[in-house]
Symmetry: C2
Subunit: 258 residues, 2 copies
């Protein structure tokens, strides 16, 4: 299995892979249009390296510019600290099972990111059978959404880095959850998903070797790791005792609390 590791991502290797892919797609290599046995590919590539490299940088595979992937990997190899990200969410309870998150800033690449001018706003809610009014998907459905999206992006990115072109990717997810656990009605039943099943439908011109790689790529997904393994979560609850504050200056504080 090929990883995006140091030795595989030198410009020369990328150039060689791209050249092979281009030749293959033009039907040249495939159709033995001309015999390349007598050519020394290394010498040939060195003479045209700059030109090819420039072409590679703008080439897109699965929607990813190969130059961007290579640039990211090289930058991280030069300074691993820029690989450290901190993602953030702010959430506010609205009522009952309805609450809202704001997602905007994060830290990554050695700095605070300012690429988002407005926050993404998403509502968690519940359907009537779970005592809500369907103002949004519920939190465990959002987990399936994040899992699907992360595995799909991971698949497309690692496929691009390995010169595997994908035509389409669709997925269906099912998660089994018995609410007896969450409601405290049965100690033998866990609170979260007991099981999740994911089926991907992938279209493309894929060899058996490609298929094996794709099966390994989806499991590199960060959310797949989060869901299938344990993540330490520190919870801190801070309180403001409303009643004491209200004893004195009720009107003013209610405004502040609104």
């Amino acid at each position: 299995m090929k990883n995006l590791s140091k030795t595989q991502w030198t410009p020369k290797v990328v150039t060689a892979l791209l050249l092979a892919a281009i030749l293959f797609n033009l039907g040249i290599a495939r159709n033995d249009y001309f015999n390349t046995d007598n050519l020394n590919p290394k010498i040939k590539m060195e003479t045209t390296e700059k030109k090819k490299k420039k072409a590679n940088e703008t080439a897109k595979i699965n929607g990813f510019a190969l130059g961007d992937i290579v640039g990211t990997v090289e930058a991280i190899q030069a300074n691993p600290d820029i690989a450290k990200f901190q993602f953030r969410v702010q959430n506010k309870w609205i009522n009952g099972g309805h609450n809202r998150s704001w997602i905007k800033d994060f830290y990554g690449g050695g700095q605070e990111d300012d690429s988002r001018k407005r926050p993404f706003v998403y509502d968690n809610s519940e359907p009537p059978i779970l005592l809500g009014n369907n103002e949004g998907a519920n939190p465990v459905e959002y987990i399936l959404h994040g899992l699907a999206g992360c595995m799909t992006t991971t698949l497309a990115l690692h496929a691009a880095a390995n010169e595997i072109y994908l035509e389409s990717v669709e997925s269906k997810l099912e998660g089994d959850l018995d609410v007896q656990g969450f409601l405290g009605l049965n100690d033998q039943i866990r609170n979260g998903y007991q099981n999740i099943r994911i089926t991907f439908q992938i279209k493309g011109d894929l060899s058996e070797d490609d298929k094996e790689k794709l099966a390994s790529f989806v499991k590199k997904s960060p959310v797949f790791d989060i869901v299938t393994n344990q993540v330490p979560v520190q919870v801190d609850l801070q309180y403001k005792n409303l009643q004491h504050a209200l004893d004195g200056i009720k009107g003013t504080l209610l405004h502040d609390f609104g």
Copy 2:
């Protein structure tokens, strides 16, 4: 710690709790407006039980109708099979790190749910530094959103069931992720979050006992369980080999694949 278990949720107990809460909120019990020492609460409640029960059913605590919570718990105790839910998501890759989920149907309460007339549609994307164009939050941010929402809903529901009134709940979440893991650049670094921190700001008239309960309630969240523990995930990849199909009837198939 009080769970929503069978012995605690008889109508009588609910009635007693509600009555106490109503008296307390009216300032009667608190201000010793009248001395209840000589009353037998049990006899009093039995004579007015029907009336009070009806009032309880429409009473809302933290946005939840107590009658709905009790009704749900009693229904599950009578038939545990209705506690089994299956949530579902469909996702389609758009391009690069951009994909879209549709969330609508689910199974629960012994039947297919049809309360949602249209699907919820959410986009996963990535910021430019992660090779995307910010068409939506990224998948690991959605995980923090689901975690915040689930812990908040769990808090509000269990607080309601325990007669703890909340004024407001806000949370901030941070998740640490080093993309060297995901990119295969360092085997010692995991692919998902290394650590998540959540801080809740809770306002209400809360006793020390209430606060201890709330700290336990947030950890009953299904998503908290999913993130902090392991969930088995079965992955099935199904392929359609585009090239072979295209050899014969390219035009027709391209339409089908679009």
